[in-house]
């Protein structure tokens, strides 16, 4: 009990500022260190870039990764993990075939690459099937699959001019892009699945993130799946899950650098970010932009916009926050400034008794 009360925060403590400073100070050290990790290019961003990513709530992190755990009953079977990994890993036409574009004839030729196909477990039939899905006219000519661009046979446009050649080239290019990026199998966005062993359990870690489709797999445990895409967690699992994800992600970044920040500071950050039911960015477009006081908002960023908008809606500033009060030259309602009335409570029975016992 004594220990607990010692760690209680007294009323009026400026927890926000303390949290900001506690995260910010090690953050400055991070800037110096992260940029010295030269050479390691293909890496999930850590350190400051990742921290900025989290705090800015990017729609998708630079390197989204997904960690998939299987349902308890399958978790210890390697074959199943391999099977799942194979099923989710996405393979595109461009991975198993050579694609040639012919502008003159207005066709795109797809040539199946047997060696690549074998390695990735793709047959020509699968390739054909996926291309056919697009309901395109397909001609097979030996090894080649020929797809033609549908021509608008001399159809005249509004100005009465015939379509130019470059429009045809454009179409071919478009088709080429479309075919190269046609999915043969797997889940959209997921690639490079790797199986890892962790505490006797086989888990799959993959590049890209697409929880919505991955949990459709019958072996995957939807309650133990994880991604570093916080926005996605919020969309599927809700705000509380997102809040926990923010805490975890921030803590991971700091731990990796060997920095110790009390978790409560990070939790406060996550709580504030999620306090409105959706994740808010820290900054002009998020948290700071939602401050109650005009003066506080104007002092932060976009001064003129805030000041000109205020009279339009007839804003009133009751001077509750910190910034406003400093501007107006009042004491800040924080710490000693919060105390308006001093009152010494009469000694309660309980307390006196406890004293006696001592």
């Amino acid at each position: 009990m004594k220990r607990r009360s010692k760690f209680q925060i007294p009323p009026g403590e400026a927890v926000g500022i303390v949290a900001a400073q506690s995260i910010g100070e090690p953050g400055t050290q991070m800037t110096m260190r992260t940029f010295h990790y030269a050479g390691v290019a293909e890496h999930v961003p850590t350190g400051l870039p990742r921290l900025i990513e989290i705090v800015d709530v990017r729609k998708e992190p630079k390197k989204p990764t997904i960690t998939i755990r299987l349902k308890k009953e399958y978790a210890k079977k390697r074959e199943i993990a391999e099977k799942v990994a194979y099923e989710i890993e996405s393979i595109f036409v461009k991975d198993v075939a050579k694609i040639i574009e012919d502008v003159e004839k207005g066709i795109v030729v797809v040539r199946f690459d047997k060696i690549a196909g074998e390695q990735l477990g793709i047959t020509k039939e699968m390739l054909l099937k996926s291309i056919k899905k697009g309901k395109r006219k397909i001609q097979e000519k030996g090894e080649d699959i020929i797809i033609a661009v549908d021509e608008d046979k001399g159809k005249k446009d509004e100005k009465g001019e015939k379509p130019k050649l470059f429009s045809k080239a454009k179409k071919v290019r478009k088709l080429f892009e479309k075919i190269s990026n046609t999915l043969i199998k797997g889940i959209k966005g997921i690639s490079k699945a790797v199986i890892l062993e962790e505490e006797g359990e086989f888990i799959i870690r993959a590049k890209g993130s697409n929880i919505r489709d991955v949990i459709k797999n019958k072996y995957v445990d939807p309650s133990r799946i994880y991604t570093n895409n916080i926005k996605e967690i919020e969309a599927i699992y809700g705000i509380e899950a997102a809040r926990n994800a923010i805490v975890k992600e921030v803590k991971d970044v700091l731990d990796m650098q060997g920095l110790t920040v009390n978790i409560r500071h990070i939790m406060l950050l996550a709580d504030v970010m999620c306090s409105e039911g959706i994740i808010l960015k820290v900054g002009r477009h998020g948290l700071a932009g939602r401050k109650r006081s005009v003066l506080a908002r104007a002092a932060f960023e976009e001064t003129i916009q805030h000041l000109t908008r205020a009279p339009v809606i007839g804003e009133e500033d009751p001077l509750i926050g910190t910034t406003e009060n400093i501007i107006a030259g009042k004491t800040v309602p924080v710490g000693t400034g919060r105390v308006l009335l001093e009152f010494t409570p009469p000694k309660t029975k309980e307390k006196t008794e406890r004293k006696k016992r001592k």
């Binding site: 009026g12 403590e13 400026a14 500022i17 303390v18 900001a20 400073q21 003129i304 000041l307 000109t308 205020a310 009279p311 009133e316 910190t322 400093i326 501007i327 107006a328 030259g329 009042k330 004491t331 800040v332 309602p333 924080v334 710490g335 000693t336 400034g337 919060r338």
Partner: protein, 608 residues
Amino acid sequence: MEDRTIVYLDGKLIGFHKDGKALAQRIREKRRINEIPYEINVYYKEKTNELFINTSRGRARRPYIVVENGKSRLTPEIYEKLRKGKLRWSHLIKMGVIEYLDAEEEENIYVAKSEEELTEEHTHLEIDPSTIFGIVAGVLPYPEYNSSPRITMASSMAKQSLGLYASNFNMRYDTRAYVMYYPQRPAVETDVYKTLELWKRPAGQNFVVAVMSYKGWNMSDAVVINKGAIDRGLGRVMMLRTYETEEVKYPGGQKDIIELPNPSVQGYRGEEAYRNLDEDGVVIPESEVKEHDVLIGKTSPPRFLDEVSIFGAIEEKKRESSVVVKGGEKGKVDSVVLCEAPSGNRLIKVRLRLQKIPEIGDKFASRHGQKGVIGLIVPQEDMPFTKDGIVPDLILNPHAIPSRMTAGHLLEMLGGKASCLEGKIMDGTAFSGNVEEDYKKILESYGFEEYGEEELYDGITGKKIKVKIYVGVIYYQRLHHLVSNKIHARSRGPVQLLTAQPTEGRAREGGLRFGEMERDTLIGFGVSMIIKDRLLDQSDKSSQLVCKDCGSIAYKDHIKNQVSCPVCKSTNIVEIEISYAFKLLLDEIKAMGIFPRLIVDKKVNMEW
């Protein structure tokens, strides 16, 4: 096509050649026999099979001796002719003995450091190995004994040293200049130093240095200095500062007048301030002046025309605009110049001479990146001394040496000591200067410890110090960071006109900014009253009248002796305490066309 060399001239492709390497060699040969100008450089890039010929300007180039078949083209015969003055540098270039190479062509060559190590493979010979350093680093003694960061630091600090910056300093009127009283020629010099004849404009003095601790007063790169040495002129510098003013002519026939201002002039500084002025309104040379004393008395016409009465009573409303000595400065008037500005106006320059005697906090440095500030000035009696009665000028902390690896500093100390005994200037040129052995012999022959150690006696107790102390003579520079030019404090003082907040900067006697992050720390600590004290009470606190009815800033009419609101004419007005900057903010918002209202609820007593 692929086995052909691509040839570029000044970056432009001009053609192909079947053997680029041979072509480069031919161009070089032609250049050496003067068929091609010596400014041309060729570079053959083996990796990509490309040949670059450069003729453009702006390439940094440096000379090398050409080597052929492992033999220097600078033969003893040529060298002899050179010594006798029959040949000159330009002849050597024409003869192909020496050639200039640019950064690119350097990639194709193999340079020998000295003639002894020449082999068949070498293509060039360094004229002298110490020329690999630039002008500034070339002046430093024994750079090969020091770690490279220290050389860099020494190079940049040498530029901050005070000495004899120009021999005609007496005729110059630089806004700020420093001249050392007794500059000395260093006891250990380099070839570059001699070539540049820098001893004609030295920037430092040879200090007797003891490497020991002095009661902790020289910890963390501080140094202890001998008071007696300072009194004898060690490190003494004079600062010359020029003040100037021009008699400007204004449109409308008015102009400034340089004169002894009349007491009726607006902004008169009091008789005391003008006491050094001559009849013509300019100070008398060699008079002693201190801060805020007038150097040039000047009066200007009023700033606004409407101040002048219609009856032409201009004289009475003149403004005082004299030139005064800057805050914190004290010295003598060195000289006065009366001349004409390019604009044709009368121009007056007054040069002030200020003595800058070394004081605690002034910065000194040797030529090995070993800088330090004075931590204590000790009377000569209290300094340690040797059995011969030698008292060090400066005591350096031994901790300054090992981690920085400036062995050159120690060697220069030894060299300087030997130099003083022998009466000869020693050579500290990189790679070829005198070595430790040379100094040992000299020291020994004069009865000194060969490693430069001395038995010292404590100046205070008179007892012998138990260990031997390394004592030597080394060239020290006084660097241009003087405490007297930086010292600054403020309790109350001038405020800015617009915001009523304290001014910024030493020149304006300003305060130190209590910034946003400092504010955050106080919020984090929860001390609201201190925040208010810093940001309001000690800054731009002001009392304003506010209309209770409409919320605008009201005013007091002193003639009618009543308060009223300029917007709604109400007299229901209260007084509030806000920062002047906030009032200014409200005014600026009003200027944007927005009407901010201050809603005053009740009078809160903020006094606790």
